[in-house]
Symmetry: C2
Subunit: 315 residues, 2 copies
C-alpha cells in the first residue's frame, strides 16, 4: 500500500475534521496587491484551532484511529504547533495524549500543551533523546505515534487547507506555502493538482533552512544545516513520504532572506492587522522581493500560523 494519500483521502479528511476545525477566512489586502502587481488571497490558518494549520493534520490522524487504538493513548514529540495540535485533537477525541518536549522548550508552549490536558514528558534537546523517550512510552502503553509531517493521514489533513482555498477562489493561478517538514506542501500539492493540473504550486524556504531546495537539486533528502532561522517552524528536513510527493509534483522552491522574513511579518501585522508567526511571512517575502513574478496573476498564499511570543518580537 502506498503511503502517499490520494485526493479521496483529502476529501475524507475534510469531512472528518469538519466538526472540529475552523473553516478559516480568506483575506485580501490592497497594499500587498499594489506592491506585487498580483491579486493575493491569504488563507488565514493563524485563525485555525491552536493558531496553526497543524490542527488539521493531527485532527485527521487522531479521529481516524480505531477507538481501541486511540484508547491506548497518543504520543508525539514536538515543541511547536504540532504539540498543541495533538494535545487538542486528543482531548476532543477523548484520548490521553503524551507530548515529549525538550527541557528547554519555552514555558509558554509547555503551558499551552498542558492547557489542552496533555501529559508532558521532558527529555534532552536532541532528536535522539526525543525519539527514545517517545519509543519508551509506546513500548509501555501501546500508544500511537503521530508524526508531525511524514504520515499519510497528517498530509491528507493538511491538504484540506488548499481544498477550502480553492473552493473559495477557484481560479487561482498559483499557490505558495512555506516548506518545513513538507506536510503542508505535500497535502497542498495533491489537493491543488487534483483539482486543477495547470495550477502552479511553489514552496518557499528561509535561506538559513534551504534543505528542501537542496534536496530537489541533489535528488536526496538533505538536512537543515543551521538552527538559527527566525522561521522556527521551518527548521525541519523533509521526510521520505513528503520528499517523494514534493519531488514529483512541485513547480519549484525559492528561498528568502532572514531580513525579508522579519520585514514582511511586520508588514502583514501593520497592513492587515493580523498576527502571524515568522514562518508565515516566508512566502510573502518571495512575492515582495520579486523571487516569483506574479504580475496579473491570482495567487493563493497559505498563512500557516499565528503563535508568537509577544514579549520577544523580532524588531
Amino acid at each position: 500500500m502506498s503511503l502517499i494519500p490520494n485526493f479521496d483521502a483529502i476529501n475524507q479528511a475534510a469531512e472528518r475534521i469538519k466538526p472540529f476545525a475552523h473553516r478559516t477566512p480568506v483575506l485580501t489586502s490592497a497594499w500587498f496587491n499594489r506592491e506585487t502587481g498580483g491579486e493575493i488571497f491569504f488563507k488565514c490558518e493563524n485563525f485555525q484551532k491552536v493558531g496553526a494549520f497543524k490542527f488539521r493534520g493531527a485532527c485527521n490522524a487522531i479521529m481516524k484511529l480505531p477507538k481501541r487504538e486511540g484508547e491506548k493513548g497518543i504520543v508525539t514529540h514536538s515543541s511547536g504547533n504540532h504539540a498543541q495540535a495533538v494535545a487538542l485533537a486528543s482531548k476532543l477525541a477523548g484520548y490521553k495524549a503524551t507530548i515529549v518536549m525538550p527541557e528547554n522548550a519555552p514555558k509558554v508552549k509547555v503551558n499551552a500543551v498542558r492547557g489542552y490536558g496533555a501529559d508532558i514528558v521532558f527529555c534532552e534537546s536532541t532528536i535522539e533523546s526525543r525519539e527514545e523517550s517517545a519509543e519508551k512510552i509506546i513500548l509501555k502503553t501501546g500508544a500511537t505515534f503521530i508524526h508531525p509531517y511524514n504520515h499519510p493521514d497528517v498530509i491528507a489533513g493538511q491538504g484540506t487547507c488548499a481544498l477550502e482555498l480553492l473552493a473559495e477562489v477557484p481560479d487561482l493561478d498559483v499557490i505558495l506555502a512555506p516548506v518545513g517538514g513538507g506536510g503542508l506542501m505535500s497535502g497542498t500539492l495533491i489537493a491543488a493538482k487534483s483539482i486543477n493540473p495547470n495550477i502552479k504550486v511553489f514552496g518557499v524556504e528561509p535561506e538559513f533552512a534551504d534543505d528542501a531546495w537542496r534536496s530537489l537539486n541533489s535528488g536526496r533528502i538533505e538536512q537543515v544545516l543551521r538552527t538559527d532561522s527566525i522561521a522556527d517552524g521551518l527548521r525541519t528536513s523533509l521526510g521520505s513520504i513528503t520528499f517523494e510527493i514534493i519531488q514529483k509534483h512541485i513547480d519549484g522552491i525559492v528561498t528568502v532572506s532572514e531580513s525579508s522574513i522579519i520585514r514582511d511579518m511586520r508588514n502583514i501585522w501593520e497592513r492587515m492587522k493580523i498576527i502571524i508567526e515568522p514562518s508565515c511571512s516566508v512566502p510573502v517575502s518571495a512575492l515582495i522581493d520579486g523571487k516569483l513574478d506574479v504580475r496579473g496573476k491570482k495567487i493563493g498564499v497559505i498563512l500557516t500560523g499565528g503563535n508568537v511570543d509577544l514579549d520577544h518580537l523580532p524588531w
Copy 2:
C-alpha cells in the same frame, strides 16, 4: 432642522460609503465565550480602511458634500485615526485635504496622513492652536471642516457599523462600544434602537477618561480630567450632538481600569490573532471583569481600530 441624524440617514450613509468602505468581518472566539459565559460577536473595524471605523463617518460626510463645496477643500484637526480617514476619503473623492496636526504628533501618524496625499499644517499642541489653524485655512480657502464626531454626517456614517453587525447577527441582546467623543456610540444607538428597541446598548470608558459617565450623572458635558489613559483614542469629551443622543438612548456606561485594558488588548492579540489598539479592548474588559453580566446572552462588541506602534507596545 435637528442635527440628530435619523435611521434613514444611516441607511443612506451605508449606500453612500459602500463602494469605498470594507464590510468588515464578524469574528467569534471560544475562549472569550468561555471566560464571559456569553456569546460574543466581534465586529472587526480594525480591518476597516485606514485601520479604524473612523473611515465610515469621514467618508460619508465627504462624499455627501456638493461637488462645488468639496472642490474648495477639506480641513480637519486630528492626530489620530480621523486624520487618516479624512485624508483617504478626500483622496477618493478627488478633493484636497489639509490636516492640522500638533507638532509633537508621532511621525508614524504624520507619514500615514501624508501617504494618503493630504497636506499637513503643524500647530502647537493645544486645542486652541488647532482650532485657530483650521479656521485660518477655512477663511482663506472656503474649505469644509469635518469634525471628528460632533457632525450629523459623521455620526450617520459611524452608525453603518452597527447596521452591518445586526444584519449579520440579528438577535443580539446587547451591543458594547467604547465612548470617546461619542460619534460611534451615537450612530450605534440610532441604528440599533431603530432596528430593535429592546436591544441594550452600553458604553465603556477607561477610568482615566470617564467624562461621558460623569456627564450622564451630572446632566451636562464634563471634560476629560487627565491625559494619560493608555486608550489614546478615548481621551475626548462629548460634543453637543453626541451628548444629546447618548443621554436620550444609552442604557448605561461602565468604566474599566488601565491594567484591564492592557491585559485584554493582549488577550485579543494572543487568543484571536488580530491586532487591536488599546481603545479597542475597553469594552472587552467590561465583560472580562464582570462589569456587565452577559451570561447566556448574545453580545456584539465593536472592535474600533488596529493602529498600534509596534515599537512601543504596552507590555
